[in-house]
């Protein structure tokens, strides 16, 4: 952009700044009188813009809260990427730190017997879906 062009732009910028300054300094009564004389519905349009902005921010906030917290994964498929021993280790770790849940299981199950790999994966997925399973980085324990 040439100096002359820059100069012309900044001239208009200065004018715009002065107009904004005047609007901000204008009394409420004068502004309302102007709006009445011009049939200006800017006030209504501004309120609508605020309502749209509020909705957008609220929707974004909800979407952000839906994403899983750090350290937890929601996709059940990830559990199937664990090797069976690691999956059993995760389940054991969960049961060890949640004795009230472990107490509800049959004794044989508590000792890790009679649980097929499929049972282990199924239980981990159920815990994962409830959001109570704290997962370790899955890359370290891939099948």
């Amino acid at each position: 952009m040439s100096q002359k062009n820059k100069g012309q732009s900044s001239r208009l910028d200065r004018l715009t700044d002065t107009l904004v300054e005047d609007i901000l300094a204008c009394s409420d009564a004068d502004l309302l009188a102007e709006a009445a004389a011009d049939n200006d519905d800017g006030g209504t349009l501004a309120r609508r813009a605020f309502e749209r902005a509020s909705r957008t921010v609220a929707v974004r906030h909800i979407a952000r809260n839906k994403s899983p917290p750090p350290g937890r994964r929601q996709a059940p498929a990830n559990i199937r990427a664990l090797d069976p021993n690691t999956a059993r280790g995760w389940l054991d770790a969960y049961l060890a730190s949640n004795p009230e849940t472990a107490g509800q299981l049959p004794r044989a199950v508590r000792r890790g017997k009679k649980l097929s790999d499929e049972d282990v994966y199924g239980m981990l997925e159920a815990l994962q879906q409830r959001g109570v399973l704290t997962e370790k980085p899955i890359e370290q324990s891939r099948r």
């Binding site: 952009m1 040439s2 002359k4 062009n5 012309q8 732009s9 900044s10 001239r11 208009l12 910028d13 200065r14 004018l15 715009t16 002065t18 107009l19 904004v20 300054e21 005047d22 609007i23 901000l24 300094a25 204008c26 409420d28 009564a29 004068d30 502004l31 309302l32 102007e34 709006a35 011009d38 200006d40 800017g42 006030g43 209504t44 349009l45 501004a46 309120r47 609508r48 813009a49 605020f50 749209r52 902005a53 509020s54 957008t56 921010v57 974004r60 906030h61």
Partner: protein, 193 residues
């Protein structure tokens, strides 16, 4: 208008929302007029600018100090956004993402050369000169307003600007209002009559 609490120097997002919610009819109008003034120079809508400013205030991207009037704060946010949007329009990068294999590593970023060609510079200069002449033409019947306008465009402000015309503060405010009103009527949406 604006809740003031002891403690943190910035309004919380809840406080910002509350402060905006209880604006007076005149303040809503004031905000829209500011948005229109800032949009006149660029091809974007006042409602979009206003909405973007509200969003940035509500989501905490822009923060308002407790000592600042919320309307002045929002006007400042709009000014900043409008400046960014204008710069983005001037750069006109026209970026496009091209993937041939669908793989992320193969993404190619193509950016158009944004340097204006001589014809474009000439056209912009001519348009700016024409516009300046048209704005001054609105005040051919008012020598004081004409002089004030020259001072504004030359970057004078405050007492320096007032002394140029010899007006009192009240007379100066009144003349500045006259300038704004005429420009509003002649250019209600953008700098196209």
């Amino acid at each position: 208008m604006q809740p003031r609490h002891s403690g943190a120097s910035l309004l919380t997002q809840v406080e910002v929302k509350r402060a905006i919610s209880v604006l007076t009819a005149a303040d809503w109008l004031r905000l829209h007029k500011v948005a229109r003034a800032l949009c006149r120079e660029a091809a974007f809508e006042a409602d979009d600018l206003l909405q973007e400013a509200f969003q940035r205030a509500l989501d905490g991207t822009r923060q308002c100090t407790r000592t600042l009037d919320i309307v002045h704060f929002l006007a400042g946010v709009m000014r900043s956004i409008a400046s960014d949007w204008r710069k983005a329009r001037k750069r006109r990068p026209e970026m496009s993402l091209v993937t041939e294999t669908g793989s992320l590593q193969d993404v190619v970023l193509q950016v158009r050369d944004s340097a204006p060609v001589a014809d474009e510079v000439l056209a912009v200069n001519e348009e700016a000169a024409r516009l300046k002449a048209a704005i001054f033409a609105l005040f051919v019947d008012d020598r004081l307003a004409h002089r004030l306008l020259e001072g504004i465009m030359d970057g004078l402000a405050g007492a320096q600007l007032r002394s140029l015309t010899g007006l009192s503060e009240t007379e100066f405010a009144s003349k500045r209002r006259l300038i704004r009103r005429r420009i509003d009527k002649a250019y209600p949406k953008d700098w196209t009559p």
